[in-house]
Amino acid sequence: MDFESKYCTSQVNGTITITTRKVLDENLKSLLDEGKGELFLSCIPRNHSCSPRWIVEVASELGEVYIMRYKIDFSGNSRGYAYLQYINVDLKESAMQYLPMRFRQLCMCLRVEPSTNNRELVLKNVESSLRPWQVYQEMLKIHPFTIVRVYEYQLDQFFYIFEYRNNDSAASAHQRVRNSIRKFGEHAHISWLTAENILSRASGSFCFQREVSQNRTRRVPPRQKGCFKF
């Protein structure tokens, strides 16, 4: 089978996406969409010597690629990194060993690491007149998230951690929130929550939080016992 019939290439703004044309099982698809087994390729040369198609062709020697997201700048050059996922999530480990070696054989020194799949944004300095449930409603309008965690660090002072489905959706949420940040007051600020942060999900602190399922249509505002009252 040739490349075209196996994979579908598309470009939206600065991302070239190469996706498999294979129809996948719903569960597997949602698992993959959440970023399971994602690899982070870096040190991609800026010139055209290392096209997204080429990378996928090399990577599929190991197994079928589910998706690759390849970032470019305005002149179409690579921004130096890309994300790669196999349909078989278990291939991640072997890919991390095999791919750098294979790339080196082809005289390309790409680095392959597990992706942190950072998908949490933190919203700070929200105007105090806005209650958490209002923030919750506003943020839902901007971009759907999976979980919000609210922390009250002083009386009536909150900060919010929003978790999105995957890194891609968090990135677009970040952009949209930034464009309408003034809804949340003069000094409101949104930023990425790095994995090293103590509150990040990766570091495993689960205190004072309540998850909000995404499937429920009528959502309850997050409520934390003892933290604040409505």
């Binding site: 598309s10 700048d73 309408s180 940040i181 003069e186």
Partner: protein, 1215 residues
């Protein structure tokens, strides 16, 4: 030989020059130094002046006539302050800078030319071309296809497409060609299984977005699947994309690398409009046809005779579908409109403000001066006596109908009294109104008759016979009052919309965004006061956000829509039926004027064919439609058939750059000469010379690095260069504000009397003075109009507290300010994203936004950046001759707009307070509209070509003793300074331009601009020192310390203000909310209105935060159950004591059963004004007493208060 040259040749050359038209000439440096003296002597004997100048190290002679204003007669001195000297010295003595040798060699070694391979290219991802494997059309899709007007002809279209490579498809807008044709072609290729990739080229991004969205909807997909889009900031394509929409400008940019590969069909829309980039694309296509045999080109047009396109290509078929419609709409012209309105007896607008005494006259110097002018004319009556008055009208924006403060007489009165027929004729031509009566109840006609001045009576008679209202006879002014009158005619007089009862949608075509915003407020205020029925207002303009268009597309059919649009409506295929069209028939055109070397914004009538196209938007086949043209029948008859292609009139700087990138090896003028609308050679020549001067092109006409970077920045080259200087001097934010302000209308521009609506035009002088005062206040003694832009923007930003502007209205100025600032912020963010795309702003490192704004608070740095960016628009004041000199030709005067001069103030008086002789400015024609005084050092440092060497320094003969040297920055900027200063300045200059060059060349190498990178961090030292230097220079020259301009790091400003206001006050909303659609009760007379006053204690904000709507409801309920029905509106007026004033007026409503207040207007209106108004209109005066929490007031008083709120004038009522 020497003798022959000196005795024969030189005098002969000088005589030629004397006989010629040029005012000055530079004789080449091939003459020997000994001959310079001969030149000078000969010139003196012929009465010419001469001067030895140095150009690139060679001295040559310049000779000029007495009247020449190009050159400085004597050099301007430059003396550095001690602080600046010290700083500069320390800077230059730093070891880490480059050595002396480096400096000397640098300028020669480094080529400023960019290699062809280095040119930044745009990436247009076009996947390989394939045959489509689409499903068959569904029934809905088939229905959709058959609904197109051209569906029955699709076979014919395809036949001609097989027969010829180029077809011109000519059909009206409603055929929706740019959606229909790609679908037809795709359908055909699917059946034939042939390769297909269709590129659809639109004129503007918004059109591409709109059309691609509709085509994607046809497939029921998202953009980026079968239908893709390619725009600078939004692109979505994939390997299964077969139709791609783009704009001509963007597509041309990608052509350099892409050629026409992977494209099977090219559909170019709106070729008849001759958009400059479309015209260039056509010649590119013509060239490509020879190498790409299989390329098929479809040109879509709507014009009478498309033969010129087939002629241009030398091949091709025409498909002409334009037929004369059987039913033409009723078209009325200006003359009929005026009589129609006079007959209808429209009672519009507020009575209250019509009665305002003209107490604002007198007691200001400008009125006194004008009175003196008139009085002198009245006494003398000579030509010379009229001249000052004419001057004031022509150059100082004084109204020609100015009335004397004491007698109420106008110039026309005097002229007819004194029997000056030629003066009278002139004044009438200038727009004077002879029917104005003075305090003795006499008008010009009666005065002439009384004095038996037959000649004047004749003139006045012929005027009244062919009488025209000048305000609307010129394309320069849009008669808003007339548009409102027509709206009244249509909406309140049912006899003018006969037949059906349902009112139709109205389309109003205006020339610019500024006009749209202004009219928007006027219509809103008339609607909210209830004198016009409610309607929904929609706006369409160039560069609008898609949301505006979507709002109109998604509006329900029930609503009466009033659409205010620019000429973009000619290319937007909307599914909205319009019943009436009000067409101002004018447009704004940027015309390059070769005599003054500047592009002027000119208002012109549109051509006949454009009017015809607009007429067809009405779709006359669908019932009774009417078209009002605000142009007199006579003027219409004289219009040309087609308008001139803009390529032939516009300023060509961006075009030249684009052309140079398309074909780097062709001479620009040659390339443009073979386009379909070749521009005049002189325009191209000027543009190329200008680009060479500002270092966008080099001497060999190749693109420099600067040119490469400016390519994708959506402003003119000059403004783009200003941005680069803003980046270099790290004061990007104010420069961004200035650049985007220069690209929008100025909210604080001083209006002509014609711009002010007729309610207030008696107060023209007062309003102009107030605006001038506001400008002076904002400029804060900085002698800068550009500073006003920065201040105004910051003040507006601070007032918003970074929140969306409130949805209540205050007055027209506030509304316009918000509207214009909306446009400004959108231009600003567009520029920022383009700078990011061009790698001039990075997300981190030295070129991060924060770093680039370190100097933003220092106005002296911004001035320095302005000097560099505005070059060559630099003027020098010659106080002795009281004139302005520059590289451009002669008579330049300062527009009353600039803060550098007062009204009616001659230059030598205003120049007395100038701190320096150097002015950088923006011109319109020969008027300086925006100017800034800058220090001489800034001129010496940043103007001129980046590569001038030490050579411009030369010793002047007579000043050898004090070691002063002459410095020629360019061919006319001539300074004298001490030798040490000169050397230091030139050194620093090199150093600066090395940074300039490094930035432009290496800005895409992100690693080089990291925070810790050594060579680049030296530049930080440079800018820091420059800041110190200019600060001490500013103080030394005597500028006052500017008020701090704060820089807000992330100005995320609200956009879409106008959209939300119009949606807020839209009738459609009310219908939905009340679930009661009764379109039959349209006449406003059926509506009963009740007004309550409420005591608010403090201000509105406080009141609303303290009281819930439920509480207000209960207060009102004490009087009467406030039931709001479609026929009964309830208004709540808030007031306060000490000082007694009315604060706001809101409408009380029940939305889904919940009581709420919708605030209409908020302002401060003193109670005494209301009492006065009541007296003058014979209404019983109400009592406003704080003891009463609330009261029901008389309907007439209520209406009166409403009108006071709605028609308040910012400048007149400003206290």
């Amino acid at each position: 030989m020497n003798h022959i040259i000196q005795d024969k040749y030189i005098p002969q050359q000088l005589l030629y020059f004397l006989a010629g038209r040029r005012c000055c000439q530079q004789f080449p440096c091939t003459f020997r130094t000994s001959e310079h003296e001969a030149f000078a002597n000969n010139a003196r004997s012929l009465g010419l002046r001469s001067q030895v100048v140095h150009v690139n190290g060679n001295s040559c002679v310049k000779v000029y006539k007495q009247a020449c204003r190009h050159y400085l007669e004597e050099p301007k001195t430059l003396v550095l302050s001690s602080g600046a000297t010290l700083n500069m010295f320390t800077l230059l003595s730093r070891k880490s800078l480059m050595g002396k040798e480096d400096l000397e060699l640098y300028a020669d070694l480094v080529s400023m030319k960019a290699n062809a391979s280095d040119l930044p290219s745009l990436h247009l991802p076009l996947p390989a071309i394939r045959p489509p494997n689409l499903r068959f059309w569904t029934e809905a899709q088939l229905n959709f296809l058959t609904a197109f007007l051209g569906h029955s002809l699709s076979d014919e279209i395809l036949q001609s497409l097989y027969a010829s490579r180029v077809i011109v498809y000519n059909a009206a807008l409603c055929w929706d060609k740019s959606v229909f044709l790609p679908l037809v072609i795709l359908d055909d290729c699917r059946n034939k299984k042939s390769n297909v990739k269709i590129m659809c080229i639109e004129r503007q991004a918004i059109l591409a977005t709109y059309n691609s969205q509709r085509t994607a909807n046809f497939f029921g997909e998202q953009l980026g699947e079968t239908v893709g889009i390619q725009l600078p900031y939004f692109s979505a394509v994939s390997s299964s994309t077969f139709i791609i929409y783009s704009t001509a400008q963007y597509f041309l940019r990608s052509l350099t690398s892409q050629q026409f590969r992977n494209i099977s069909h090219l559909v170019v829309n709106d070729v008849h409009l001759h958009d400059p980039y479309t015209d260039i694309l056509l010649s590119e296509i013509r060239m490509a046809l020879s190498s790409h045999q299989n390329l098929r080109v479809v040109l879509l047009s709507q014009m009478g005779n498309p033969k010129k396109f087939t002629d241009f290509f030398g091949e091709g078929l025409q498909l002409n579908m334009i037929k004369q419609p059987e039913v033409a709409p009723r078209v009325s012209y200006l003359n009929e409109l005026h009589s129609c309105i006079a007959l209808a007896g429209i009672h519009k607008g507020p009575d209250i403000y019509k009665e305002i005494p003209e107490a604002f006259r007198a007691n200001n110097p400008r009125n006194e001066q004008m009175d003196k002018c008139l009085q002198a004319y009245g006494e003398l009556g000579t030509d010379a006596a009229l001249r000052p008055f004419l001057y004031a009208v022509n150059y100082d924006l004084a109204p020609v109908n100015y009335r004397h403060s004491l007698t109420g007489k106008t110039a026309v009165h005097f002229a007819s009294e004194l029997n000056k027929a030629n003066h009278l004729r002139l004044l009438l031509f200038m727009g004077a109104d002879p029917y104005i009566v003075d305090l003795f109840q006499q008008n010009a006609i009666s005065l002439a008759a009384m004095n038996g001045n037959h000649e004047c009576i004749d003139v006045l008679n012929s005027y009244s016979l062919h009488g025209y209202v000048v305000k609307s006879a010129k394309p320069d002014f849009v008669d808003y009052d007339l548009i409102i009158d027509i709206m009244y005619l249509l909406r309140t007089k049912p006899e003018y919309s006969p037949g059906e009862y349902s009112p139709g949608n109205i389309l109003i075509i205006l020339p610019t965004y500024y006009h749209i915003v202004k009219l928007n407020y006027m219509i809103l205020s008339h609607c909210l006061t209830g004198s016009l029925q409610e309607c929904s207002i929609f706006l369409l303009y160039d560069n609008m956000r898609n949301d505006y268009l979507q709002a109109l597309v998604n509006a329900s059919d029930e609503t009466v829509k009033v659409v205010l649009a620019t000429d973009i409506i000619e290319s937007l295929c909307l599914k909205v039926p319009f019943k009436y069209q009000i067409d101002t028939a004018c447009r704004l055109n940027n015309v390059y004027d070769t005599t003054s070397c500047s592009g002027d914004d000119r208002f012109e009538w549109v051509a006949k064919d454009a009017l015809l196209r607009r007429e067809l938007i009405l779709q006359p086949n669908k019932g009774d439609v009417q078209c009002f043209r605000l142009i007199s029948k006579e003027a219409y008859e004289e219009l040309s058939e087609t308008s001139q292609p803009s390529l032939q009139t516009m300023q060509l700087d961006k075009i030249c750059l684009a052309v140079k990138l398309l074909s780097p090896n062709t001479i620009i003028s040659e390339y443009l000469g073979i386009t379909i609308s070749p521009p005049p050679l002189i325009n191209v020549h000027h543009a190329v010379q200008f680009l060479k001067k500002i270092d966008v092109l080099d001497d060999a006409e190749d693109v420099t690095w600067l040119g490469c970077r400016l390519m994708d920045i959506p402003v003119s080259c000059q403004l783009g260069r200003m941005l680069i200087f803003g980046i270099l001097l790290r004061c990007l934010d104010p420069i961004l504000t200035i650049v985007s302000s220069l690209s929008t209308a100025d909210p604080l521009g001083i209006p002509f009397t014609e711009d002010i609506d007729n309610l207030w035009d008696r107060f023209t002088i007062y309003i102009q003075n107030s605006i001038k005062k506001e400008r002076t206040y904002l400029s804060d003694n900085q002698f800068s109009d550009h500073f006003i832009f920065v201040r105004l923007y910051k003040e507006w930003q601070n007032r918003m507290h970074n929140r969306t502007p409130p949805l209540y209205l205050k007055d027209e100025y506030e509304f316009m300010l918000n509207g214009l600032m909306e446009q400004l912020t959108s231009i600003r963010s567009e520029i920022v994203s383009s700078l990011r795309a061009a790698n001039l702003i990075h997300s981190r490192g030295k070129l991060s936004m924060n770093n680039l704004n370190q100097m933003s608070c220092n106005w002296h740095m911004v001035k320095a950046a302005l000097t560099g960016g505005m070059y060559p628009n630099i003027y020098a004041v010659d106080t002795r001759k009281s004139s302005l000199k520059s590289a451009f030709s002669g008579n330049v005067s300062m527009h009353p707009n600039t803060v550098l001069r007062d009204f009616l103030e001659p230059l030598n008086i205003s120049a007395q307070s100038f701190r320096t002789p150097w002015i950088v400015c923006n011109r319109q024609k020969s008027h300086i509209v925006y100017a800034t005084l800058v220090v001489p050092l800034a001129v010496a440092m940043f103007s001129g070509h980046p590569r001038i060497r030490l050579s411009p320094i030369c010793d002047s003969e007579m000043s050898l003793t004090d070691r002063n040297v002459n410095v020629f920055i360019d061919e006319w900027i001539w300074m004298v300074m001490s030798k040490a200063t000169a050397e230091m300045v030139m050194r620093t200059r090199y150093y600066f331009f090395k940074m300039y060059h490094d930035l432009l060349k290496h800005c895409s190498e992100l690693d080089m601009w990291r925070r810790d990178c050594e060579p680049v961090s030296q530049y930080t030292v440079l800018t820091d020192t420059l800041s110190k230097i200019f600060e001490s220079e500013d103080g030394f020259v005597g500028f006052f310390k500017p008020p701090p301009i704060t820089f807000l790091p992330t100005p995320q400003l609200p956009s879409l203000y106008l959209l939300s206001v119009n949606a807020h006050f839209s009738w459609a909303r009310e219908v939905e909310e009340n679930m009661l659609s009764k379109p039959h009760h349209f006449n406003s007379h059926f509506i009963e209105r009740q007004f309550f006053v409420l005591y608010a204690g403090g201000d509105c904000e406080e009141f609303h935060s303290r009281n819930t709507p439920a509480f207000i409801e209960s207060v009102l309920g004490k009087f009467v159950r406030p039931i709001d029905t479609p026929n009964r509106h309830i208004f709540v007026i808030l007031y306060r004591k000490d000082p007694d004033m009315m604060l706001s007026i809101s409408r009380a409503k029940f939305v889904n059963g919940v009581f709420m207040l919708q605030e209409y207007f908020r302002n401060n209106i003193p109670v005494f004004e209301i009492l006065d108004a009541c007296v003058s209109l014979n209404v019983q005066t109400p009592v406003f007493d704080g003891r009463l929490m609330s009261a029901l007031i008389d309907k007439r008083v209520g209406n009166l208060i409403m009108e006071l709120f709605a028609f308040r004038h910012h400048w007149i009522h400003k206290r």
